[in-house]
Symmetry: D2
Subunit: 389 residues, 4 copies
Amino acid sequence: MTRPLKLGMVGGGQGAFIGAVHRTAARLDGHYELVAGALSSTPDKALASGRALGLPEDRTYPSWEAMLDAELARPEGERIDAVSIVTPNHMHYPVARAFAAAGIHVICDKPLVHTSEQANDLLAVVRESGVVFAVTYNYTGYPLIRHARDMIRAGTLGEIRKVIVEYHQGWLATNLEAQDSKQADWRTDPARSGMAGAVGDIGSHAENLAATVTGLELEAICADLTTFVPGRRLDDDGSVLLRFAGGARGVLMCSQVEVGEENDLRLRVYGTQGGLSWSQENPNRMEYTPLDGPRQVLTRGQGYLSPAAQAATRIPSGHPEAFLEAFANVYTGAAEAILAGQEGRDPDPLVAIYPTLEDGARGVHFIEKTVESSHSDRKWTDARWSAPD
Amino acid sequence: MTRPLKLGMVGGGQGAFIGAVHRTAARLDGHYELVAGALSSTPDKALASGRALGLPEDRTYPSWEAMLDAELARPEGERIDAVSIVTPNHMHYPVARAFAAAGIHVICDKPLVHTSEQANDLLAVVRESGVVFAVTYNYTGYPLIRHARDMIRAGTLGEIRKVIVEYHQGWLATNLEAQDSKQADWRTDPARSGMAGAVGDIGSHAENLAATVTGLELEAICADLTTFVPGRRLDDDGSVLLRFAGGARGVLMCSQVEVGEENDLRLRVYGTQGGLSWSQENPNRMEYTPLDGPRQVLTRGQGYLSPAAQAATRIPSGHPEAFLEAFANVYTGAAEAILAGQEGRDPDPLVAIYPTLEDGARGVHFIEKTVESSHSDRKWTDARWSAPD
Amino acid sequence: MTRPLKLGMVGGGQGAFIGAVHRTAARLDGHYELVAGALSSTPDKALASGRALGLPEDRTYPSWEAMLDAELARPEGERIDAVSIVTPNHMHYPVARAFAAAGIHVICDKPLVHTSEQANDLLAVVRESGVVFAVTYNYTGYPLIRHARDMIRAGTLGEIRKVIVEYHQGWLATNLEAQDSKQADWRTDPARSGMAGAVGDIGSHAENLAATVTGLELEAICADLTTFVPGRRLDDDGSVLLRFAGGARGVLMCSQVEVGEENDLRLRVYGTQGGLSWSQENPNRMEYTPLDGPRQVLTRGQGYLSPAAQAATRIPSGHPEAFLEAFANVYTGAAEAILAGQEGRDPDPLVAIYPTLEDGARGVHFIEKTVESSHSDRKWTDARWSAPD
Amino acid sequence: MTRPLKLGMVGGGQGAFIGAVHRTAARLDGHYELVAGALSSTPDKALASGRALGLPEDRTYPSWEAMLDAELARPEGERIDAVSIVTPNHMHYPVARAFAAAGIHVICDKPLVHTSEQANDLLAVVRESGVVFAVTYNYTGYPLIRHARDMIRAGTLGEIRKVIVEYHQGWLATNLEAQDSKQADWRTDPARSGMAGAVGDIGSHAENLAATVTGLELEAICADLTTFVPGRRLDDDGSVLLRFAGGARGVLMCSQVEVGEENDLRLRVYGTQGGLSWSQENPNRMEYTPLDGPRQVLTRGQGYLSPAAQAATRIPSGHPEAFLEAFANVYTGAAEAILAGQEGRDPDPLVAIYPTLEDGARGVHFIEKTVESSHSDRKWTDARWSAPD
């Protein structure tokens, strides 16, 4: 897997945060070369941002529509293979739909889109066009998360009984959106962020992490969303009771107003035969306790980890990897799927691992149902999701 | 405060766990001398247990009724000052009521009694008799918990927004009650434990800890209780959404089936001006983060702690104190209240700190409401409690 | 083991720190009753301190000589069984010698005495009189330290290669002895503390901990002692390279000027088959890694610990025990040895565990050799110790 | 700083470990493009490795000499700007000397060379040619290490008294070099590794980290090096007492036979006004305690960090960065220095931070003196280093 894929980017211009993360993640393993960009919805800014990044002048576009047209006009083999969509949420849908329909592979930030209707439409478009579509639920890229998934698939924890997933932040504890913070501004604006605030921005990561690791299907939820900061237009805190098909129970918490918390995503899973615990802020270790024995501290890079976990790491244990490497793993997983398709071979199942469009659609459904539950007087809101036929 | 109080004990004979804890806690600071006991509901065992402890033969009683009669028959000044009730839960009410009515101070294990009706009756009896009545919510005895309470009272955290309180255990992950475990047996038996399992045994500690530290009043709750182990008769896991008067929100979790967890009681509290986090398994430190500054690690024994926190510790920071010392702080708090009464003086407010009968009654109400909520289809169950007039 | 032993105390009056620790430790398990005391070298203070503790008037003595005479004058069975010596170091020798010679068991704080000559004399006296003599190297009383010792004895770590033992404090980072601190004052005074400062006060704990756990014999040392605080008369920091018989190597560090450190005693031991790590400030856990497998977190109270470790704990895992409980284990170990002697039976080998006079004498030798090495230009100073014939 | 520098690489072919790390570090921030390589000392393997990496056929060289000749033969502006030397240690000197003399900037792995004579020669060559020469003491690239350095420069810790630097590994606890481990093989071979084993491989990192952070100059050392694994030809464990100019003291430990340790590099520094502690395995936090106040947990990405620390990070706090990002910071520092030279401007002092040739030369001197001390009977070996005139 050595030829770098040609990558375009929509969004992520000057002042953005997540665009630089995507670019670094794409570059880290050498599987992508950024060759084109429409880096802002403001044409001038788009062009300036492209120049600042050293993009070729003729592939620095004022708008995503211009980029799509121009790239399609290039000879096959010279156009972009894939596009990264790193705009605020409201632009995910039109951009993703257009590129996917045109046969360009898509790597899209989360949450996928604003509504299940949009998500289902995207699913139909992508089924039709056959492109690879990855959603950057980046936390699933951590090697120990892959190991946790594989432990549970192998039955090491027995039957799962309890899932606790938490995502704690404190950066929105004050009214930052009134203080010229670009990040706070769009995230608290329903028109750009969607119907949910904390639940959409980070709760959806928590949902995806729990689902990816446990493989459990949500059956019903009971949510309490709150807006603590006066004047804020979306929730900044949420707690959700979870019931899974098969009888497991759980709790999902997310908050952006917990002073002192930085990016504290944690997962605990308990089954009949063992329990495990992982924390994103120190991601190179996972605690696992079997039913009859002392707690073990599993560390990234060790030979006792699952093949997929070992395939997702670059350096030996004790040499920590972190956020960007996990993010890169999602990019690398998508690259392997794209390249396998181009080369007419089966993708390496230990590498071609990435959150799919289905993950993204289920995430949108989760957000909708959480908001619905929060407004409801009924205790339980049905949260089952299945892909449309 | 040097004269040891004369203490009797009901329950806590051979094979019990918590009886020895109470005896050690009572002895640790030298404020109590155990002089009498009715240590088991089985007379032979009660007598054998008393002998094993070296109690005087004539104050080793076959039953609590015998103890009460005989002690009251002793001249004033020679009878027991206080009684510790460390039986399974169902015996708390009759024993506590009888001793309190007779003017003997009571230190009673938790949960207080089985029903609010019993609790209210006890409140009436104790108001009438004027005895000191302490309930051993022992985790509130930790010095850093007292400091947390004092920080919040002083407004250091600003207005409280969020409370997360958790109590995780794993020892009941299998059907231990079928395997000759005395501890598991009574705790999973509704007749002796009460209407709730995990919620009564440890969830009530969590409720009390959160209430003690934050001073917030519960307004409404939404609970999901589960029994995971086949054949078990009471819940062994519970998650509860919390709404407090004034707008704060929270989550309470308790479980006894989480494999690998030992006695993992944790508290996080977030306000507009700061956040704090504490964990019982390493209780000599608490993390506190102000809104604008790095996280601080506060440690027991330091001069920057509140006076009540400093009064509750015996040795310098770095020389850890733990469970028994915290438990002893509750005993010492009650001793100060009893002695102050006997000596006709005001108790030292930094020392006479202990969970009261009101705490116990509110805890019973919390258990009842949690069970009610768990059976309800309504999302929110009113959980407000106030002492009867 | 239920009859409480009658205990006298020398030192530990008002303003002392360690006296209260000894009293609590003696009381905690109910094996001792404090009945007599000569609590200060100042007669008035001795009497006032005894009264404050509620000692009987006629056994509150103005001096240790008076106590010894008066107790010996009491009928056998009514005199003290044992004496706790908790004075500044310089008084250990005369007091311990006199009581031991008189047939009274001795529990003496560390470091034992000022010189090896004194230590050897004490050894001779105690061999003659046959009393139990315990030295309160209290950190060896932690259950996980007993487990570590037993793991190494059982060969679980293979052949020991490396020992790192550290004791970090910061409380003497400033010239506290000039600021009316009783604790700092005598500890930095050669006449009372002995020839060493930090090395004597805490380095000796480190030496004893390493020796107790590993069973290794020191062969040679290379020490660098420093006095950092201007005006101080004894070392406040020391680092020592260690060579053990059989080829193991090690490092011992101790300091009392490391700002921010509280009572940070740590031990790491590595052998051919495994490694372990323990830290006193969170003493309920120990990390153990076998040569081929993940790190394990062993916790106090678990059934997989050695019998001696299990015998040294009172409450289940997750309910932390700490400094006072470990200290009490030393007292309980001595009590079992004393009682077994009185009752003409073999002591329970799982309980009668305490640092002996030989430990104390070896500790004094270690201090002497460390000071000698620090002044020497030779790299290695012979540090072998053996009890005199 | 956007134009990527053209980079060549010597060493780092198939089966190597550190080559891939350098390539990722060079690529991570986009400042380098790998365009040429002589990736092995075995010509066939060099060519195969270049192909596997997708290097241009005509710049995949069979030997470093061929690469140097061919690159110099290219028109200026088309040849490599810099070379990364990632061979076993013994090749550093000839390769670095040749490229530096030819005016090509050098990024060289550590330890720099085998002898001070070689180091001094390199210093002369580089002074003559004026190239940028960076040595990848990569751990100094961590943002919090830069903050620690800046805190100490600013006097926040007062006068430094004590430095404890440790580097613990366990991967060489068995005779891995006899088991076909390429990494173990050359590192334990004096001809390729140099005169020292653990001290050269990781002790030199520890020396550099302590020197970089504290700015203190070593005055004298006392070392004890050991070879624990039978048959091994170099030390695999070492402990060193340190004396710094100005009176500070310290301890340096390094070992590769401590079972269970992965890559446990730690630093503690104590001054008259504060202490700090950092651990590489969880590098996003650093503990700092001022003389009068609670411990603080400083985290990467926070606004209270020094400008250089903030400049060395890419993503917000709580989104961990790790080993590769720190390594990339060294590459980025060198890139800034190279580009500034090419562009005739002053380098940005917050970015152009990297370990220099002087650091490398001092490190070689440290290794020599440590080995000398270990063989000496004298306690102290002079360890002062100064650059030759």
